[in-house]
């Protein structure tokens, strides 16, 4: 199995912390619009697909939500509590190795390999906690001998990953076993990881009170200074002009993110 230059590249969008259900998600549309706005007339054919898993998360949270509704009687308080629960539970699920997290990862891997079998080059664009699932799956694929031969990019089920608002630089993710990226061995080509973040994004900084990120090294913390590493990792601080949680959801329209994606595909 190999990818083909004749097949349309696919941008697989993996969303992150969400309120609501799969049907409410429109990130694939945002990315299509962003790409078109940055290409301004340049001919580049591509498809965008959104990998959704919010319904799986919601099923896993159902009992907790019912309990919170019983405890909180006011309708407004109840709504706020369940919204907060959505976000907190997403984080807990992504950190854990429980069945819901495993199912999310397994279906994502399946989706990537489906495209690979059809010969489509896949580029992953992941947001927030979606970056954690994507990082896990890509590293899992790299550990399998038939994929990611460093000198043969056509054997790569994923050609590169672009992350936005990723918490992967936080210590709690390192402590959960995500301390290293899988080395590809010696060779010429590098697997690209471009990471965009706003210093005011609380999911990136880990500060719930919105303090700005102290260090601008997020993904670059995963760099290894050895010839057989095979990853090209670059952090890009962006200024969304938003504060706190609004900064976390403002990447979808950011021109720098669009330029990075165009750069990765061309």
């Amino acid at each position: 199995m190999t990818v083909s230059a004749e097949k349309k590249p696919v941008i697989l969008v993996v969303h992150g912390v969400q309120l609501g259900e799969d049907e409410d998600l429109k990130q694939d549309q945002y990315i299509k619009e962003l790409m078109q706005s940055r290409l301004v007339g340049h001919a580049l054919e591509f498809d965008v697909e959104l990998y959704t898993y919010e319904n799986l998360n919601d099923q896993a949270q159902q009992k907790l939500k019912q309990l919170s509704k019983l405890i909180i009687q006011s309708p407004i308080s109840s709504m706020l509590a369940t919204s907060a629960l959505d976000i907190v539970a997403d984080v807990v699920i992504s950190l854990s190795r429980n069945s819901t997290a495993n199912e999310i990862r397994s279906k994502l891997k399946e989706k990537i390999l489906d495209y690979f079998e059809q010969g489509h080059p896949v580029y992953v664009l992941a947001h927030s906690l979606g970056t954690v699932y994507s990082f896990d799956v890509i590293n899992e694929l790299m550990a399998e001998p038939e994929y990611f031969k460093r000198d043969d990019p056509m054997s790569w089920p994923v050609q590169g990953i672009l992350t936005i608002g990723s918490p992967l630089g936080l210590d709690l993710f390192k402590q959960s076993g995500r301390s290293k990226a899988t080395a590809l061995g010696l060779g010429e080509f590098n697997f690209k990881w471009l990471n965009y973040f706003d210093v005011n994004d609380p999911v990136v900084s880990g500060s719930i009170f919105g303090s700005a990120l102290a260090s601008t090294q997020v993904a670059e913390r995963f760099k290894q200074n050895q010839a057989d590493f095979g990853w090209y990792i670059q952090d890009y601080p962006v200024v969304t002009g938003k504060t706190w949680l609004l900064a976390h959801t403002a990447y979808w329209q950011n021109p720098m993110v669009g330029d990075g994606l165009v750069s990765m595909l061309t």
């Binding site: 990818v3 890009y236 021109p255």
Partner: protein
Amino acid sequence: MKLLLPLLLLATSACTNHLYQGTSTYQENNKQCAAMVYWYDMSHWFSDGDKPTTVVVRNASNPRSFQISQDNTLPDEDKIRLVESNSDYVKVIGEPSTDFTELDCGYFSGKQAHQNGQSDTTEFYLFCNKKSHPLRPDTSGLRAQSAPYVFNMAPPVSQFSWMGELPNVAAVPLGCE
């Protein structure tokens, strides 16, 4: 009071966010081709070295973006380093060995002049050549060379980025003749 904050934001944005845009020509297959460069939101990285921005170089067939940031290690302080945001490039001028984790490709000159909005040209030194990649044929047109590509810059244009307005880059005709 309710109106004051939006007005302050508007004023701040108008003062600090600018689009810088310029054009240049280069030779390819005995034809003269046009290329353009643009960048914006200058204020952030000039006031604080750890917040770089993106510069985009386009020709008729390929938009390429670079990260630009101040670099005091270069001999002239008035220099901005470019970092290619696609690792399919190798260094060919100045530094013959390829660094597998960092890829710095060339630099711009004229930092101070651009900061003050006074420069009408910018020099783009390209140090990188593209590797042959089976999925991405090289359509960049701009080859690594010792001499810089000189872009004639239009006056900076103020814009309100918080409103989501994007540079009107489609207005510049690009192609070869």
